[in-house]
């Protein structure tokens, strides 16, 4: 029983790590205050679940979900290309509300607030990942691959351009860099991997509904990358582990669940305050939040 619980936590950590690392690519590396990350998470989850249930092979569904999320990221970058900081945060938040409203109201496709139950476990070339343990291994592999690819992008010369755009768009332009395109690509890749995380989530929990991809998740993700530190994939990974594990002991103290929920929020808030007060760059961050 306890073992199953630990495996469950490990799977969630893998999924959220992919989300956090991809969000950090947009926020920490490209400097885009992106509050719409959960929308990409949701697009990936819904697309992958619906395609797979319609008979499309799992791997194709997963990649299609990620690709669609990436395309949405790319498209979102056009109207928001002149926005920065708080304004961009609001615009991307608006985008996530639009997507949420599609999930709620396009009932013929998404079943609206009823959600989509019975999403099957992945079947990869006949190999069904059904047990908890195998799903943990599967998501760990996916997470490591995503981590590797994203850090590889960050450490490439293109990653340098992302950082240059974050630090000073105007200077980057006058040095001959196509800032608009760089931001679009940054958001595309970030959204793509959020889509991967969405697919992982949908096929694990086997049920998704619009509330899964609400603003509360954004706050959780922001907490993760603020604690871990902006501009560091390692920070995003360790931030995920910390944020997901810290409230867990509450379950064992024996509080009623009506207290556990709010207590979790209190712990997150305290943690954020402590980090911002004592270590404004987070644990492994290289960039201060809101510096640009």
């Amino acid at each position: 029983m306890f073992e199953a619980y630990l495996i469950h936590l490990a799977i969630l950590i893998c999924i959220y790590a992919v989300l956090a690392i991809s969000l950090d690519l947009a926020m920490g590396y490209t400097g885009l205050m992106n509050m719409g990350h959960v929308a990409f998470f949701g697009i990936g989850a819904y697309t992958s679940a619906l395609l797979n249930m319609a008979g499309v092979p799992f791997i194709v569904s997963m990649l299609a979900g990620a690709l669609l999320a990436g395309i949405f990221g790319f498209i979102l970058s056009w109207p928001t290309s002149r926005l920065r900081g708080d304004y961009l945060a609001l615009a991307t938040l608006g985008f996530s509300f639009i997507i949420e409203s599609f999930m709620k109201n396009w009932t013929s496709l998404t079943r609206g607030p009823l959600g989509i139950p019975g999403i099957p476990r992945p079947n990869i070339f006949g190999l069904v990942i059904s047990s908890q343990l195998s799903y943990m291994i599967f998501s760990l592999i996916v997470m490591v691959v995503c981590f590797f690819i994203i850090t590889r992008i960050e450490k490439s010369p293109f990653g340098r351009l992302l950082e240059a755009v974050r630090d000073d768009e105007v200077a980057a332009k006058t040095l001959g860099e196509n800032v608009r395109h760089i931001k679009s690509m940054g958001l595309l890749v970030s959204a793509f991997f959020a889509g991967i995380a969405g697919s992982l989530y949908a096929h694990y929990i086997s049920f998704i509904d619009p509330t899964t991809f609400s603003i509360l998740e954004v706050i959780l993700l922001f907490s993760i990358i603020i604690v871990g530190g902006l501009g560091s994939s390692k920070g995003a990974l360790i931030g995920t582990i910390i944020i997901l594990l810290i409230p867990e002991p509450l379950r064992f103290i024996g509080f009623p669940s009506s207290i556990v929920g709010p207590a979790r929020q209190i712990i997150y808030a305290l943690l954020l305050l402590l980090i911002i007060y004592f270590k404004p760059k987070g644990l492994f961050g290289r960039v201060k939040l809101g510096e640009n």
Binding site: S156, F158, L161, T174, G176, E177
Partner: protein
């Protein structure tokens, strides 16, 4: 001033309004190749606006900007930069979280930095090290290349910004108040650097408030006032001109 040497940059009746304010009002001037040209004028004369128009950061309301014979008034900033226009800023604009080396590398547009080449190159392998070392030696900055930009003093940041502009494949260099906020020693150094660049055949246009600096360095001086060209001539003539004094001090 006669057009005896081909102009590399020309503004033709450029106007730019900000709301009701005419920052540039049918402003026309041109820059000759291989020369240092000073752009002076009282505060609010439109000097920095002119720079922003030339580099495409602002778009003209009316008029044309010709660079190397091409109309660049509707061209996006990054393309203007790629065809050979480098600039520095009044307020230094470095990439604060990047090292000196990486700051300079951003100025080199090489194919390896394209997105689809992500998995073939890493940031660490730098095939332009020699070029960077030369640029840093040229501006006389003795700091380790790996120093993060935000750790530099103001004067050092200015030098890095200049070195970064020099990394570009430019034919015209725009300097917006290069001496603002730097000590006299760095100022002298800048002067000799700009002279060296001129000797190498580079064309420089600089905005400057330090009259000694601009008059001793420039081959020609353009005076802007209220968004239009007041005059353009040799420094000694500009200095003696009554209209210039009036523009600065009032009648």
């Amino acid at each position: 001033m006669e057009k005896d040497i081909a102009p590399i940059l020309e503004l033709q009746d450029v106007s730019k309004n900000f709301g009701g304010i005419k920052a540039l009002d049918k402003c026309s001037f041109y820059i000759k190749k291989g020369m240092i040209t000073g752009l002076i004028g009282p505060n609010g004369a439109g000097k920095t606006t002119a720079f922003n128009i030339i580099t495409g950061l602002l778009k003209v309301d009316e008029g044309k900007v010709l660079f190397l014979g091409k109309d660049i008034s509707r061209m996006p900033t990054y393309l203007v930069a790629r065809i050979g226009l480098a600039r520095t800023f009044q307020q230094v604009r470095l990439f604060d979280n990047l090292s000196i080396e990486e700051n300079l590398l951003v100025a080199i547009n090489h194919p390896g930095e394209k997105f689809h080449k992500c998995f073939f190159y890493t940031r660490k392998s730098n095939s332009f090290k020699k070029k960077i070392e030369e640029a840093l030696a040229f501006v006389g900055l003795n700091k380790s290349m790996t120093t993060i930009a935000s750790e530099l003093s103001y004067g050092q940041k200015r030098l890095v910004e200049l070195a970064r502009a020099l990394m570009m494949d430019y034919s015209l260099l725009l300097l917006d108040e290069p001496t603002a906020g730097v000590n006299p020693a760095v100022r002298e150094k800048l002067k000799s650097l700009l002279r060296k660049l001129k000797k190498q055949g580079k064309t420089i246009l600089l905005i400057e408030h330090d009259m000694d600096f601009v008059m001793s360095l420039s081959d020609e001086v353009i005076v802007l006032s209220s968004g239009t060209k007041l005059m353009a001539d040799k420094p000694e003539k500009v200095m003696k001109d009554k209209r210039v004094l009036e523009a600065y001090l009032g009648k």
